[in-house]
């Protein structure tokens, strides 16, 4: 099983998904991220899905789970780079990703988190 690498940029963890995600890889990523948030005291997580061609209900749930789980660990998650075709498909599939913050691209996502981290 491949693992998705997690990079550290100051107080933010950056996950850039570059592979076609297998279900086990998705579960491992959730666990790895939870561990790393606590280990580094990270305050933000950016998940870059620019390269992700489809988000089905399993991957969609991963995004929601990561957002909720990181909130419990006092970190905020932003999903960046969602392709237009993926967004349309997600809606038709019935997934609204309610609690998940999104931004257009990595830069906007980091800006959004920086705004939050500036606050005490």
């Amino acid at each position: 099983m491949e693992r998705v690498p997690i990079l550290k940029l100051g107080e933010v963890l950056l996950v850039s998904i570059q592979i076609d995600l297998q279900d086990q890889t998705v579960l491992a990523l959730q666990e790895d991220l939870a561990d790393r948030i606590v280990a580094h005291g990270a305050r933000g997580v950016v998940i870059d899905i620019t390269a992700v061609e489809i988000v089905d209900s399993f991957i969609g749930r991963m995004l929601s789970t990561i957002a909720s789980m990181s909130r419990l660990l006092d970190a905020e998650t932003v999903v960046v780079g969602m392709r237009p075709a993926v967004a349309i498909t997600l809606v038709e599939l019935g997934l609204s990703l309610g609690g998940v913050r999104t931004a257009l691209d990595l830069e906007k996502g980091l800006q959004l988190l920086a705004g939050r981290l500036a606050k005490p």
């Binding site: 297998q22 089905d56 498909t89 599939l93 019935g94």
Partner: protein
């Protein structure tokens, strides 16, 4: 027509890739490709998780008016679905899913057919046409 087994979650990834290739070959737009590949991913996972594994078939099809499309079929010899109405409902799952696989993939394609018999198995056929 291509046929291959679904016995591990690697195979679900392979189904997506083959379905994408077929969708491109059928001349689908990017959105159409994304929809049919997403449906294939949902149905393949069901075959694996609930059907205990099975087979995927992916074919290119052409209708009477010359439109091209992709047909995906998933069959397993698993437990079958006792209450189909319930299973096709948004949000209903007998396991730990979101209950959107069947209902959602039905919305993503143009034709959707589900045959199931308790104790015998399940076969889902879905077709999407290029516009």
């Amino acid at each position: 027509m291509e046929e291959f087994p679904i016995v591990s979650s690697d195979d679900v990834v392979r189904v997506r890739q083959r379905c994408r290739t077929a969708a491109i070959a059928a001349g689908m737009s990017l959105v159409e490709q994304t929809k049919v590949v997403t449906a294939a991913s949902e149905l393949a996972r069901n075959t694996l998780v609930y059907g205990g594994g099975g087979t995927a078939q992916i074919s290119q099809v052409t209708n009477a008016s010359g439109r091209n499309g992709v047909r995906i079929m998933f069959s397993d010899s698993g437990p079958g679905i006792p209450d189909l109405d319930l299973a096709l409902r948004d949000g209903w799952t007998s396991g730990s899913g979101l209950g959107l696989g069947l209902s959602g993939s039905r919305r993503l394609v143009d034709e959707f057919d589900l045959w199931t018999e308790v104790g015998t198995g399940t076969r889902v056929t879905a077709t999407k046409w290029a516009r």
